[in-house]
Amino acid sequence: MVLWTIMPSELIFQEQNTMEQSPVYEEVDLEGKKVIVERCSPNQSKIVRIISTCPEDYMLEELQPGTMLTYKPTYEKSIT
């Protein structure tokens, strides 16, 4: 891999301070819309970015960055 950038490599690959945890980002599918969320607690995530090329998706209120999502595990009945 060759990086061609104006950013110095020591800035790109800087060591993370072990005292503060680096944020955990995940890609989540919300009814067909892909968003990147930041894990805040085991069952809560915050939307940080929308991955879409459709300009209208950025206007959707429920996808605005900063919106908190709650993760609820559910049991599913096994179908016999």
Binding site: W4, C54, P55, E56
Partner: protein, 262 residues
């Protein structure tokens, strides 16, 4: 005779303003409320328009933002803001394939990144049949330059800049001639792409690439707004409105030529 509808002694569970209508018992949880609101709007739609579909303004132009580092084979540490190859490529295919999408607008503010991922994105955009317009906002540095020129028509805002400098392995000593050749070849691939997709000639591009005394940490040039247009790298100085007008023109022109072919 008057009915006793004194609000003070209205029985619990009734609305004092309208005693014949019961008040909603408990506050609906947020999520449920959102769902019921959605249901309400659907009912409204059926009543008013006879459809269940919520009318939304569909845009025939899709937008792609290329920001931060362009990420290819390696996942960069989380403090980097990145544009990922695996997000961009399928989106480009979807845009090319979807008949409802007629044009693509690229918003660039990138510091550069992976050469091969950047070239791949640029080639994909250049090989699309649908017209595309790019706007360089803020910066379109290093590998951002080929991506900016890959669009059918390119714009740069007056304050934006593009750093043009040679590809190198920062902080490493090139020990073997073969590694130098490797970088040289990679540089040639970029040069060829930029020269074929913009009106800059190879001589001028190389002159910008190897200029000394412009950048403090490197050789090369920092090309700002109007200069990029002057060198032929970018087509025009302008912002969103100019770009959208141009894109609609390109879409119209393409429709006309398609009509002639049939």
């Amino acid at each position: 005779m008057l009915e006793n509808d004194n609000p003070v002694i209205a029985p619990p569970g009734t609305n004092p303003e309208n005693p014949h209508e019961p008040v909603p018992a408990v506050e609906v949880p947020k999520k449920q409320r959102a769902a019921s609101a959605k249901k309400g709007s659907i009912v409204e739609n059926i009543q008013e328009m006879g459809t269940t579909e919520v009318p939304t303004a569909k845009s025939n132009v899709h937008v792609m933002t290329i920001i931060g580092q362009i990420e290819g084979h390696m996942v960069l540490p989380p403090q980097n803001k990145t544009t990922k190859y695996e997000h961009i490529m399928p989106q480009l295919v979807a845009i090319e394939q979807n008949p409802e999408i007629e044009g693509l607008m690229l918003l660039l503010n990138t510091v550069g990144g992976d050469v091969e991922a950047g070239l791949a994105i640029a080639e994909m955009i250049a090989s699309m049949s649908k017209p595309s317009v790019s706007i360089v906002l803020g910066g379109g540095h290093s590998i951002g330059a080929p991506i900016a020129v890959s669009a059918t028509y390119s714009f740069i805002v007056e304050s934006a800049s593009m750093t043009i400098h040679p590809i190198r392995l920062t902080g490493m000593v090139i020990g073997a001639p073969s590694s130098f050749d490797y970088l040289e070849k990679m540089q040639d691939r970029v040069n060829k792409f930029v020269v074929t997709h913009s009106s800059i000639n190879e001589k001028k591009w190389k002159e910008l690439l190897f200029k000394t005394g412009e950048l403090s940490r490197d050789i090369g040039t920092n090309v700002v707004g109007k200069d990029a247009v002057h060198y032929g790298l970018i087509n025009e100085v302008g912002g969103v409105s100019n770009a959208l007008v141009k894109l609609q023109q390109l879409i119209k022109a393409q429709k006309e030529t398609k009509g002639l072919k049939q």
